[in-house]
Every structure is written in structure tokens, then in C-alpha cells.
Subunit: 471 residues, 2 copies
């Protein structure tokens, strides 16, 4: 039936959701599933494997910016780890990206008095000249103020946006502020600016700026762009209130086209329906400033830990669990590469999810549309309650950056919501290091992921059919 299903799906992907409906009658009884899932969750709480995974990755490899030798070492390391842990079909799937490599970076106030500023270049930024750019700043307390500035009004200036990012458990403050970093450089350039600085998208108050990617627009000059540490943004606000401020900025990043990367894959092959795939993962690449502990060493460790526990069960679930350690999330390349290479099996992917929101506990699960009130949803809710997690009645909007292209191709996505109250304190900074991970909270996340993953792989749940219930 699976092969038939796959052929059908490839031929008529748009109609797949109804066609993929599977009978639930032949699955294991819910009580047996619940008992096995519960046992897994409890075991996960005391399993050192996930923490060991991220400790080893961040210690023995450290940062692993996509397209660099460090990431290549991480790929080799990950393949060995997955093989040693008993995963099936361990391999790496190559793709290329436009790699961006940080150079020197410095910013100094030159007037009214010399002061050093803590900044970091935005990923994708062009370089300044070797001698740098020196100019007066035009400071905007909000992004809307920048957008309201007239064309030409920033000519020759360094535009500075100091809008604050809101702290929110679900990370929504980041989404609301993201355009300031992504689009701000081009918006400033359209108005004549020669460079762009933003208050870091972060919720801390440390002299450790937050990097992250920008996206230049085609209709604007490409100007150098960097993020100010939050105390430095506030310092500029105070100084700008007193009079003109001049800054000298030196950024010397470089670019390597067609740099190699890999999505690392390992599987727990299904015992009955191996071509039906529950895809979980995280991203192995990281920014270069810290050691990528919470972003996303923790995520790959959580997905690894959950899949590994299931692999060690006396009886494997009927469907295949596929663990994918994506290779260029921060640069927005690996999700598209993966989806592009796996178009033919999209219909066989039952569900996909990515752990990419830190190392803290999962407090809620969001399922694909229609699934929360289903039998599966109710079973899941009971299984995760003892772990301190709830089933969110709202459907998952996205399953992670690397899952987005699979979703576009019709794959149902889940979102396991981790507590992100302090995630953006260290996100994309030099401070993203192992000491920030609490092994107990990490293990709770492994537990919830293992419960969900097991139930999805051991049951017959068909999220596509739940999204469009029979009339």
C-alpha cells in the first residue's frame, strides 16, 4: 500500500491529503502506545545522551559556520556519532551555498569623544573599504521612523535604528523585529545611508552584540551593516540627544561562492512501513561567535536524543524516524536543498519538525491543522501532561526554517514550543556556549520530543486527512 500511496502522491501531490488517509483500525491499541510513550518520556528525563551530544559538539568542534572547515569537521563528527548510536542509513547529502565569512569588525565613536563600541557584522553584509567608513549618524528610535525618512535624507550618513525587541516566551518579539535587521540595511540605503547599525535583536543588556543574516533588496545599494550591543545602542541614544555623533566603522567580511555543505541523515527504520517517514531534526551549522550551544547544538541534541531512545526500544515503531541535521540554516540554504532533493518522497513524510529554539523545556506542542482534537491529539495530550507540557489547540504555523520548504510541498509540520523567555538573551552572540544549557530542562525537551516522535511513528496518524475532515 505504501508504494501505491507514494506513486499516487507523486502523481497528484495536491490531492495527497485525502488520498493518504490510512485506516487506524490496524494500528496498535492506544493503551499500548500510551504506555510505551510514557516509559520513553520517563527514561529520557534521566538520559545523559543529549547533553553529552551537545557538550561534545561544542567542545570538540566549537563554532561551525556553514561553508567553513569547522562545519565540515562537524559533519564528520556527526556521522560518526550517529553510526555509533546505532542509527541506520547514516549519510550526508551535499549541497552548495554562498558562504559568508566574518572579517575584522570595529566601530568607534570619533566625536564628540572617542569611545569604543561593541558591534558585530550582520551575516551577508558587504565590507567597508579597508580604511573604513567615517560619518555622522542619523539615529532613529524606531524602524518606522527610518521608513518615514525621505529619500535622500540620509545621504552620507550612518543610519542607526535603536528599536527595542520585546521579550516573549514564544519568541514572537523576534518575529516582530526581524525586518529591522533583514530589510533595514536596504531601506537605509534607499534613503542615501552609507552604512547601517541596529540595536541588536536581543533581550539582554550585555556588551555582546547579536549577529544574524540580512537580505539585500535588488533596488537598493548594498551598504555595510552591523549590530550594536544593547548597552552601546543606549549609549548612542544618550549621546545623540546631546549633539552630533560621528562613528568610524570597519567591517571586512568575505564571501565564498559554491562552498560545500551537507545535511547529515540517520534513520530508525520502520518495522512495518519503512517508507512512511517521521522527520525530525535540528541544524548542525551555527553562527561563528559562540559555540552554537543553544542555536542549535541543543536542537540537534534533542532530536538525536529522542530518536536514539526510540532506536534502543526492544521493538521499533512501524514507521521510519528520520533524523536530519541540517547544514546551513543560519544562511537559509539547507531547508530548500533538502526539500529539493526529496521531492519524490514528499508524500511519504508523515510529519516534520525541527528543534531550533534553545535548550529549555517544551511547554506546549502545536500539531498540524485539525489534529489537536483528534484521537491522536488526545493520546498525545495525556502522554505529555506528566512531563509538564500541554497540547496547544492552535495549529503549528511553522515547523522550523529548515522545514518550511517541505511544508510548502505539503508536508504537515509540528512545533514543539520551548520556553524562550531568555532565548534571545544569548541568541546569535558569543555567549551561546555550553554553560547556558541546563541538562534537566534539555532532558525534558528530549522527553516530549521522544513521546511525540514515538506516537507519530508507532501509530497510523495521518495529519493530511485530519486537515480536511470528511464531510
Amino acid at each position: 500500500m505504501v508504494k501505491l500511496l507514494r506513486l499516487f502522491a507523486v502523481a497528484a501531490a495536491l490531492a495527497a491529503s485525502a488520498a493518504a488517509t490510512m485506516a487506524t483500525a490496524d494500528g496498535p491499541p492506544p493503551e499500548a502506545l500510551a504506555a510505551a510513550a510514557s516509559g520513553l518520556g520517563q527514561k529520557a528525563l534521566n538520559d545523559p545522551a543529549a547533553f553529552d551530544f551537545v557538550a561534545s559538539l561544542t567542545t570538540e568542534i566549537g563554532q561551525r559556520l556553514a561553508g567553513t572547515d569547522a562545519h565540515r569537521r562537524a559533519v564528520t563528527w556527526a556521522e560518526a556519532r550517529l553510526k555509533a548510536a546505532g542509527f541506520d542509513n547514516v549519510h550526508s547529502e551535499p549541497f552548495t551555498l554562498r558562504a559568508w565569512i566574518r572579517g575584522t569588525e570595529s566601530a568607534d565613536i570619533v566625536a564628540p569623544v572617542p569611545q569604543h563600541l561593541a558591534i558585530t557584522t550582520l551575516g551577508g553584509s558587504v565590507a567597508t573599504d579597508a580604511e573604513g567608513i567615517e560619518a555622522e549618524i542619523a539615529l532613529f528610535h524606531s524602524y518606522d521612523e527610518l521608513l518615514a525618512a525621505a529619500p535622500g535624507s540620509l545621504t552620507g550618513k550612518i543610519a542607526v535604528v535603536t528599536q527595542r525587541m520585546v521579550r516573549a516566551q514564544d519568541g514572537s518579539g523576534y518575529g516582530a523585529a526581524n525586518a529591522i535587521r533583514r530589510a533595514g540595511p536596504s531601506e537605509a540605503a534607499k534613503r542615501g545611508a552609507v552604512a547601517y547599525l541596529l540595536r541588536s535583536l536581543g533581550t539582554d543588556s550585555h556588551r555582546l552584540p547579536h549577529t544574524g543574516a540580512l537580505n539585500y533588496m535588488d533596488n537598493a545599494p548594498r551598504i555595510p551593516a552591523a549590530a550594536l550591543a544593547i548597552p552601546d545602542a543606549e549609549q548612542l541614544e544618550r549621546l545623540a540627544a546631546l549633539g552630533p555623533v560621528r562613528i568610524k566603522l570597519v567591517l571586512t567580511p568575505t564571501v565564498a561562492d559554491n562552498a560545500p555543505s551537507w545535511n547529515v541523515v540517520g534513520e530508525v527504520r520502520g518495522s512495518e512501513r519503512p517508507d512512511e517517514i517521521v522527520l525530525i531534526g535540528g541544524h548542525l551549522d551555527s553562527w561563528d561567535l559562540g559555540t552554537g550551544a543553544t542555536d542549535d547544538g541543543a536542537g540537534v541534541a534533542i532530536a538525536f536524543g529522542a530518536a536514539r531512545l526510540i532506536a534502543a526500544l526492544p521493538q521499533r515503531p512501524r514507521r521510519t524516524i528520520r533524523l536530519v541535521l541540517f547544514g546551513a540554516e543560519e544562511m537559509d540554504f539547507s531547508g530548500a536543498a533538502y526539500a529539493g532533493a526529496h521531492q519524490a518522497e514528499t508524500a511519504g513524510i508523515v510529519v516534520a519538525g525541527e528543534a531550533d529554539f534553545g535548550a529549555r523545556n517544551v511547554y506546549a506542542i502545536q500539531l498540524p491543522p485539525g489534529a489537536a482534537p483528534s484521537d491522536f491529539g488526545q493520546l498525545l495530550q495525556r502522554a505529555i501532561a506528566p512531563l509538564g507540557a500541554i497540547l496547544d489547540r492552535r495549529a503549528a504555523l511553522g515547523g522550523g526554517d529548515d522545514i518550511r520548504d517541505l511544508q510548502k510541498a505539503g508536508v504537515p509540520a509540528i512545533s514543539l514550543r520551548q520556553d524562550g523567555m531568555d532565548y534571545f538573551d544569548i541568541h546569535h552572540t558569543a555567549d551561546d556556549t555550553l554553560d547556558k544549557i541546563d541538562p534537566r530542562q534539555l532532558n525534558q525537551a528530549v522527553a516530549v520530543w521522544s513521546v511525540f516522535t514515538y506516537l507519530a511513528a508507532a501509530s497510523d496518524v495521518d495529519f493530511r486527512s485530519l486537515a480536511t475532515p470528511a464531510k
Copy 2:
């Protein structure tokens, strides 16, 4: 009587304590003192002057390392501020120091895998060659382990000490660890080491290393020394447990002999006994990494705020309040310079204290020996209780680094104990910036300082006589 007293004291400083005993009968009644002190304390809680002072200093000047142009600017700024606030006799007293100027600084693990380390040069460290030092590390988890290493056992190695500093409200964890930074470089050099790294003396877990001065010994080669950020020290511990680790270290500090500095002075001249001096202060110089907000912008702001409130009273206290903003505390030069220049008036200094422990609330006052149970002590205790501070029955050991030489010359010292639970999270780091100061807590410290200073200046208390009670 005051002149007679001073002559006597100069002639027989060692006998001064008994001779300086003054009758308390002719002072203002205790109820009047208590009422005035209480009013001052309440006013201080809502006075923006101290926060404005430190905000302006850290914004308009920024860091102000002793011996640099930045400190010179701070001196000019401070004189103008003190004059504008109505202080008498505002002036700056010059002295010279051996200034130490940070250069470039970097440390990278070169084996087993390349990784960048967050470090900062210790103040006073010699430089490496321009191309740096590359060597294997010898890692010690405690300072005692380093001291137990045999002579020659570290030949050609970079010694690394990763002992943890203990968090304590009164800062005692710093004193207990201080030798690791001060003496560690020479102890390592005696054993053959070519360079020295320590885990920062700090209680945080950020990638922001803590600088601070070292003291080379005469009987050991001078080797370059730096502090590792705490996550980096832990990373080295993990890596060293796996095998040999090689590090490349580049430090290029320079030194300027006979660099100029100044102790800035302003007074609230006493109405009856102007030659009796209550000396309070902080230090205007700072380390160069942050903007010297809590160390010691807050301290000079607290002392300034307290003295200024007293200056604004309708009736000035009988004794002189002398505010001293010391000019090279971090390099250990200003206290000796001040005491040396003021030997002739030592006996006229009733008491001295320095605010140099951050920006948080004062929870206890320690008086000179014998003073806690005195009438003055009891009066003070009642006056500070509403502010949330207690009188510590233990005598003050020290009144601050800049007061030490005055103490040695016989000046009684007080210690206003501020809450230091998180003081060493940012102490001597780039993170010592204005955002770390809570104006409410700062004002509480101003309130307690103003109460103490007022009572000492308005009463006849003689701490010298209390230290040696009549038999």
C-alpha cells in the same frame, strides 16, 4: 582649639588618639542631629543628582583609564561639575603614575581544533612578541595545584589556572581569589611558564573577561598574562581532559612612565571647625573595557550626591566635608599620592571612607574600632534603620584602596557595605555600563552615606578616642 589640636597631632601623631578626644557636651543635641540626618536620608531617596552624575560621566566621557587623555577629560568634567554643584575649594592635585595601555589582545586554540578564546590582558602585563606566543597549556584546576608544581615543570608552557571565584554578598570571594591574578603570573614564571592565563575573577558566565592588575615579583621573569572569560576557562578544562591543547596568545600593551593624573577635590567647608575633616570619596579612574559605571562611577556619584545634599542644607555642619575623587585606584597609585601630599593634616581627618563597591544599596555600616557601641554608633543606627541598613558590630577593616595609606597614618576608616551579590558579574569587564545601575538602589546608598557623613560632620565624634577607651 582646632589649631592647637593639629599642632599637637603633627608633633605627636602616635599619641593622637587620646589627645584628639573632644568634649561632646558642646555639640548639637542628639535629637536635632537625628532629625536633620533623617530628613537628609529621605531627601536622598528622591534626588536624581547621583544618577545624573554617573550617567553624564559614563556617557560624555566613557572609560577613563588613569594616565590617558580620557581620564584627563574626566578630571576637567569633574571640576566643572563640582563647581556647578556649589562645592568650595574645588581643585585637582597632580601626581604621576606608570600608565599601562592595553594593545591588541587575542587568544586562539590552535590544536586540537581551531577555536577563538575570549580573553583580556591583565593590567601591568608585559607584551608578547608581535607574532605572539604559541605553546601547549598546563592546566591547573586550583591555584594551590600551580603552587605545588615543581620548579621547571612548566618550562615552555602556558600556565592556566581555572579556579572558581566564590559569590558572596560582601565580596569576600574576591579577596580569597585575588592572589591568583596578582601573584599567579610570577608564580607560573618561577616554574618555567612562558605565559599565564587565569579564569577571570568573576561570578558570571559570559564571554566578557575580567581585567585587573597583576603584581610581578622581583625574583621571577615577567611573562605576559591574561584573563579568560569564564565559559572559555570551562572550555579549556573540557578540552584539556581530552588531550594536549595548544594556544596562540598575542598581547601588545604598552607603558608610559610619569603619566599625569589628579585627585579631584571639593569641599563643604565646616561652619565651626573647618580644619576637622570628614573625608569621603570614590575613584574617578576606571578600567578601559566598559565605561566604569559601577566601578567606580557609582562610587563617585554616591559620595558626590551625599556631600551635595549636605552642602544644600540651610545650615552647614560644623566640620568640613571633603570629597575626593581619586585618580588612579585601579593602578594602585592615588591613595599613596593623596596620603603623601597630606601628611601634615592627617590628624585633622576625623574619618575617611571610599565608596568603591558598586551601585547597589548599603546594607550595613562598619565603623572604626570601638565606635559601634558608642553614643554616635547608637545615633547612627537609629538614623539608618529606616533606610534598610544596619550597624555592623564588627569594626571596619579597610575603608577602600585609596584610604589605605591614610589609615596607615592613623586616620580612622569606615566601610559602608553595599550589596555585592552580583558586583563581580561585571566587575572589570566591558559590561560595566550605565544600564547596570538601578537608580533606586543607588539613591539608597546616597541616603546612607549622607546620613553618616552628616552625623560625622555635625557631631563631635572622635573615633580615635573611642578606639582606646579611658580605663
